[in-house]
């Protein structure tokens, strides 16, 4: 009897093991439909843009030089090659990095990709010509030169060694473009898509959808697993939730608020799985320093002091994709401020009544007791409209009457880029958690073109220039606090709660792993469908 039972157990195990193994083996084929929680971006150029509305629609078409390991996307140090052949060791002084480029890679138009294309792309990112915007230009202050001695090699020479070089290099926005196209027109990629990534463009209808089909010449063996994908733009959350519920779409890669996640889990049961992560992303209040009365530090500081971040973050986390109070550094990072340190800064005081009394005093002193203005906001529910509505109520408590001017993503970015706003609610979203690289986002506009507050601050630049090459964590932490205090003392901008990522998706979607950034791991090459 025992022998029979044992034999039965062994037989069952022998039958189950291959089943389990088979379940984890990627299946080829199928078409992934996902939602993009926006109405499209201003252009298609990843070097220029900063919104997921562009990245989630274009990343599957492009290759990059290196990337964070797609199997370990939450890592801050695990970088792997995409177009390079192997991750290089730097020179002894850690100032020279030599990358060998894969051979046989083709752009989707059939043209071969060489190190010259990689060079042209990196030159556009690191040192864009006049009239060409590069959103990540400021991240590469450490780069002295990028050169390509031959068709297989690309060399980065640094001015100083820094911890932020590799994370910046692995930024998923650093698409490799065709040198030929860039030479014809440096703005060509703003309206066109041509890469060497896992998918080839099928159709792109601005603000509606984008379709891609498998690139048969893709250089990673066996990938992509999908035959193709369709991404649908839908700024309204209810539309996206309904699409997933009805299985018209499998997921959205950004995030959904607790109520939507709960609803999908309740209604779909095991047909949906949810991945969660802290998010290297949050809202930022940006006053336009070039517009009166926001050129007055007292007015800016009063706006920040009126906001009860501690209570607000806790309450809003029930209805929005926000969670943690933090300043310029991702909370939890060794370089982030502690709660005690945060409570010293304007906008984070623990006693909100005292904070608001000070805000009223500052407004009175500045002669702005009846301040009224428009808050420029983005037509995206989560969490822009919710955070915006909450902030307006907080301001009303110090007598500020502000209204929201809500516009789609393109006009929202255009308004900020052209300085056509008074105060804007924008976002600070980074990719790989790397505080030293991340904080360049707060630098004045003569360092970072994508800082729309319109201020100049040599003191900030001085602190930052000491911080970037600093490799001692203790000293880097001290410098980070100095930078944080400077930004807060001058009330340049205010971080308003970090977000929290929850991605519910149909359980047949496999291979994708969440990370603290909705920019990472978006080329879809390793996604497969268990249908």
């Amino acid at each position: 009897m025992r022998k029979a039972l044992l034999a039965a157990c062994l037989g069952l195990t022998a039958w189950l093991l291959p089943q389990a193994a088979e379940a984890q083996t990627p299946k080829r084929g199928g078409h992934l439909t996902y939602m993009i929680a926006a109405d499209g971006g201003p252009s298609l150029d990843g070097h220029r843009e900063t919104t997921y509305a562009v990245l989630h629609a274009t990343a599957p078409f492009y290759s990059v030089l290196i990337r964070v390991n797609p199997e370990n996307p939450s890592s801050t140090t695990d970088f792997t090659c995409d177009l390079c052949t192997e991750m290089p060791k730097p020179s002894a002084d850690e100032l020279t990095w030599v990358f060998k480029i894969r051979q046989g890679v083709k752009f989707h138009d059939g043209e071969p990709l060489s190190a010259k294309d990689v060079l042209a792309s990196w030159q556009k990112i690191v040192s864009p010509p006049a009239g060409v915007a590069s959103a990540r230009h400021a991240s590469f202050g450490m780069v002295e030169s990028v050169t390509s001695p031959d068709d297989e090699t690309i060399v980065f020479k640094l001015k100083f060694k820094t911890m932020s070089f590799l994370p910046s290099l692995a930024d998923p926005w650093n698409f490799i473009y065709s040198k030929k196209r860039l030479e014809q027109d440096m703005h060509w990629y703003e309206k066109n898509i041509l890469g060497s990534g896992p998918f080839k463009l099928d159709t792109f209808t601005i603000g509606q959808s984008v379709k891609g089909v498998r690139n048969p010449d893709y250089y990673w063996p066996g990938q992509p697993y999908l035959d193709g994908f369709t991404a649908i733009f839908a700024p309204k959350q209810s539309v996206r939730v309904e699409a997933i519920r009805a299985d018209r779409a499998a997921m959205e890669f950004r995030s959904m608020p607790p109520a939507a996640v709960e609803q999908l889990n309740k209604e779909l049961g095991d047909k949906v799985v949810t991945q969660s992560s802290d998010w290297n992303c949050g809202n930022v209040l940006t006053p336009n320093h070039k517009v009166k009365p926001f050129d007055d530090v007292r007015v800016r500081k009063a706006l920040f002091l009126a906001i009860d971040q501690w209570k607000g973050a806790q309450a809003l986390s029930k209805i929005a994709v926000v969670k943690t109070v933090g300043s310029i550094v991702f909370p939890g990072s060794p370089l982030a401020a502690t709660k005690e340190e945060l409570e010293q800064l304007a906008g984070y005081w623990p006693d909100i009544e005292k904070s608001r009394a000070e805000a009223r005093r500052l407004l009175k002193e500045a002669g702005q007791e009846n301040l009224t203005f428009d808050l420029l906001n983005r037509n995206v529910d989560q969490p822009y409209l919710i955070v915006g509505t909450w902030i307006l109520d907080e301001w009303s408590k110090i007598g500020v009457k502000a209204t929201q001017k809500v516009v789609p993503t393109g006009p929202w970015l255009d308004a900020m880029r052209s300085g056509n706003f008074t105060v804007a609610l924008e976002a600070n979203c980074q990719n790989i958690v790397n505080p030293i690289a991340d904080v360049n986002r707060w630098m004045p506009y003569n360092v970072n073109q994508e800082n729309f507050a319109g201020f100049l601050d040599p003191t900030m630049i001085e602190i930052y220039s000491k911080l970037v090459p600093e490799t001692d964590m203790t000293k880097a932490r001290v410098l980070m606090r100095q930078l944080e205090k400077r930004i807060n003392d001058e009330a340049h901008q205010l971080m308003v709660t970090f977000w929290y990522r929850q991605v519910p998706m149909r359980s047949y979607v496999k291979g994708w792993k969440i990370s603290p950034s909705h920019y990472l791991n978006q080329d879809l090459a390793n996604i497969w469908l268990d249908k």
């Binding site: 309204k236 806790q314 209805i319 915006g388 909450w390 109520d393 209204t403 516009v407």
Partner: protein, 302 residues
Amino acid sequence: MSTTVPTMGLPAAVDASLALRPTVWMRCLRFVRREPLGTFGLALVIVMAVTGSMAELIAPYNPTANDFSAMTEAPSWAHLLGTDQFGRDLLSRLIYGARTAMIVGLSSALVGGVIGLVLGVGSAYFGGLIDLVMQRIFDIVMAFPLIILALAVVSIFGTGVQNVIIAITIPLIPRCARVVRSSALAIREIPYVDAARACGFSHSRIILRHMVPNVMAPFLIMITASVGQAVLAEASLSYLGLGVQEPVPAWGLMLQGGAEEYASTAPWIAIFPGLAIMLSVLGVNLFGDAMRDTLDPKMRNR
């Protein structure tokens, strides 16, 4: 000494009938008796107007104040219609929302109606090329559904109460002008208009003093119909995120966002604004229908 009132030679029967002309109250009573549905509609409109105009006195809470201790609370004695996701009292937001609906609805209908009245009568009076050109312009504008045209206008001018009023007013103009013109065409042929011309009166005097008063019946009917359309258009634009913006209390806006997201867990967030929109539009339309029945001589003797 006695005083004789001159009768201007009117027959005694006519004189007696003048003495029996119904007063305003009598007319109102007759309206209530003959048009119970219209009266119900009027009552709804009055309730909406009173609550909207006296919102500060009636609303129990500040409609824009967040209360994080009362998020998505079900209807209770503290919050008769419950609260939304920000903890804002729904009843207070509905009351203030009536003001937004009234401001947008009445402003759009009145401005659009008056401009339509002048253009419609003017077009009929001058006729010829002016009439032809104006009617083709109206044809073009009317080729677009009201909400589509309003969407286009909002996307040009931007969001906000003023822009929403402009967006809704523009499509209403040709609709009113077209109806008024048809009545004015008939009036233009009546001899007293020729007589006014013969007396050398100016065009503006003939239009404003002699023609406009005679097209008031269709004009008033159009105005009431337009109020309902405007309220609905405002709610639709706000629902689409293109009308007034948070935290301004507006019924369409209340249906957006929270109402969709919490439809299963806190249905009161969607139900009450929806009811408010339905009742207000129903009220205006019932009243408008009754007005038509009362003012239209063909319908009067049903």
